[in-house]
């Protein structure tokens, strides 16, 4: 636990010192909030503020964890330290988990930045009808995002092409998970992918909590699905981590840039 916390705090300091992380955390959400607010401003879509704030907040959180999961592995590899943390007695998985928790906690700041920006410049507020359920949904979402990040970290450790993947993964997730618009506008066949991606359920729960929960049994069921998907991701990570640890030792490609 101490190792995870140390890794988490160190990661938060390291991440915040990088200009790109600050861009992802502060600049990018503001521009995205501006774009989506302006697009929705005169539209006939009701309650669009939830789309703007939750969409921008969640997509920034997703970008932060993706860019840091991938980027941090890449950076460790580039600096020649990946082998060291991989063989550290504390365990590679614990170190990575600490890093991801650190980045995720910092990433939550994006949502706050968006709320403050829209309030100051456009006088917009997001009223949360069910605040307790919103907090619950947010906690579940954070756990789920950490689980996704773990899988990505394992994939990125295996693959040296992480940068390319990292650059093109955000928009498909934003589309499929319905961060900025409902997934019902997507073709029916594509919704299969939406349903197996946990952010779809995370954004759905958060939106319901903002609008006010009308059907509690449905809310609990969706929370259960989100938890089940997160658990499935963690199991997948454990399997992948096993494969990864074996493969990088056999192939000796961990530090090959």
């Amino acid at each position: 636990m101490k190792l995870i916390l140390s890794s988490c705090f160190l990661q938060m300091q390291l991440s915040f010192s990088r200009s790109m992380f600050r861009y992802c955390l502060l600049v990018d959400p503001i521009f995205f909030a501006l774009i989506t607010y302006m697009i929705y401003k005169d539209s006939s879509v009701e309650n669009f503020i939830a789309y703007v704030i939750l969409g921008t907040g969640l997509s920034s959180l997703f970008n932060n964890i993706v860019f840091s999961s991938a980027g941090d592995i890449d950076r460790e590899r580039y600096m020649g330290t990946l082998e060291m943390i991989f063989t550290a007695p504390g365990g590679f998985r614990n170190i990575i988990l600490g890093k991801i928790i650190g980045n995720t906690l910092l990433g939550l700041l994006s949502m706050l930045v968006v709320v403050v920006f829209l309030n100051i410049f456009f006088g917009v507020n997001m009223k949360i009808a069910s605040p307790m359920f919103f907090v619950m949904a947010m906690l579940l979402s954070v756990v789920s995002f950490i689980a996704i990040s773990l899988i990505m970290a394992a994939i990125f450790t295996l693959s040296r092409n992480s940068r390319g993947l990292m650059n093109c993964i955000s928009y498909p997730v934003m589309i499929l998970c319905g961060f900025y618009f409902p997934i019902t506008i997507l073709p029916e066949w594509s919704r299969v992918f939406s349903y197996i991606l946990s952010p779809t359920w995370a954004v759905k729960l958060l939106r319901e909590a903002v609008y006010g929960i009308k059907d509690y049994s449905s809310f609990y069921m969706e929370s259960g699905i989100l938890l089940a998907l997160s658990a499935a991701y963690i199991v997948l990570f454990i399997i992948l981590a096993g494969v990864m640890e074996k493969r990088v030792r056999v192939k000796a490609t961990l530090g090959v840039y």
Binding site: S19, M20, R22, Y23, V27, D28, F31, F32, L34, I35, T36, M38, I39, Y40, K41, D42, S43, S44, V45, F48, F121, N161, R163, G164, L165, N167, C168, Y171, P172, M174, I175, Y180, F181, P182, I185, L186
Partner: protein
């Protein structure tokens, strides 16, 4: 003369392949084809949902034009930082050759690749959203793409020249590219923006090209569209000259501060 032009083109091709990292086609496909297609898809779906209109030609064209930032900013804008990373920046600076011509030579392939990128995005948008461009003046439209790429490249050159003294230009390049998405009218009319941001929008590349494309799509006022394109090129030229001036200034500063190879 012919030899000099040949050298200019050769250098452009070599630096494009080496510095832009396109030695691997996988990197090109993910960053320049798959990524932009999903970005286009995202903004077009969002605008279609929000504006409730099936005719989203304007947003398809606007978002396609924006893609020239990939080459203009992350190609031309990163030349200096990539040279530094490769350890060759001091050789470029010390070489008895115009730095500006070196820069221009390295931009040539990016301009061509940028045009390809915009065309590919447009083609994808036309197919996916069944956009009808049959009534559009294609010659002017092609000229508009060229104007947009030249203009964005000018800003890329300006930011890139800062790479001689600034260690990390990524923040500037990313901010500039997102600003193009937000402020040039690619996704919503710039009249919706606060006045100050509207003024800023007209200082940015692509704003006029996107307006010109809108006029061409409406089939109205080709002369006004042409005027906007020429203004776009003028803005690009102004940015290029500013880039040249900054390059001279930064070269002097980097020599003075011995900051050339500092990470």
């Amino acid at each position: 003369m012919t030899e000099a032009i040949g050298r200019f083109i050769r250098q452009s091709i070599f630096s494009y392949k080496a510095l832009f990292g396109w030695i691997s086609p996988k990197a090109y496909i993910t960053s320049k084809i798959v990524g932009p297609i999903f970005q286009l898809l995202f903004f077009c779906l969002l605008t279609r949902y929000s504006y409730g209109s099936e005719n989203i030609a304007r947003w398809v064209v606007g978002n396609s034009l924006v893609f020239c930032y990939l080459n203009a900013f992350f190609g031309i804008g990163t030349i200096m930082t990539n040279e530094r990373a490769a350890g060759t920046l001091k050789l470029v600076v010390a070489a008895p050759y115009s730095k500006f011509l070196t820069f221009l030579g390295r931009s040539l392939m990016h301009v061509l690749d940028g045009i390809f990128n915009v065309a590919l995005s447009l083609f994808t948008g036309i197919i996916l959203f069944r956009i009808d461009l049959s009534g559009i003046n294609m010659t002017l439209f092609a000229f508009n793409i060229l104007a947009a790429v030249i203009s964005a490249s000018g800003l890329g050159l300006t930011i890139g020249s800062l790479g001689l003294v600034v260690k990390d230009t990524n923040l500037m390049l990313n901010t500039a590219s997102t600003a193009l998405l937000a402020l040039t009218g690619a996704n919503f009319p710039i009249e919706k923006l606060p006045l100050l941001l509207q003024k800023l929008a007209y200082c940015l590349p692509l704003t006029r090209s996107i307006q010109a494309a809108g006029l061409l799509l409406q089939g109205a006022n080709a002369s006004r569209a042409l005027e906007l394109m020429l203004l776009e090129i003028a803005l690009g030229t102004a940015y290029t000259l500013l880039g040249y001036f900054l390059l001279q200034l930064m070269e002097g500063l980097s020599r003075k501060k011995a900051a050339l190879d500092l990470f």
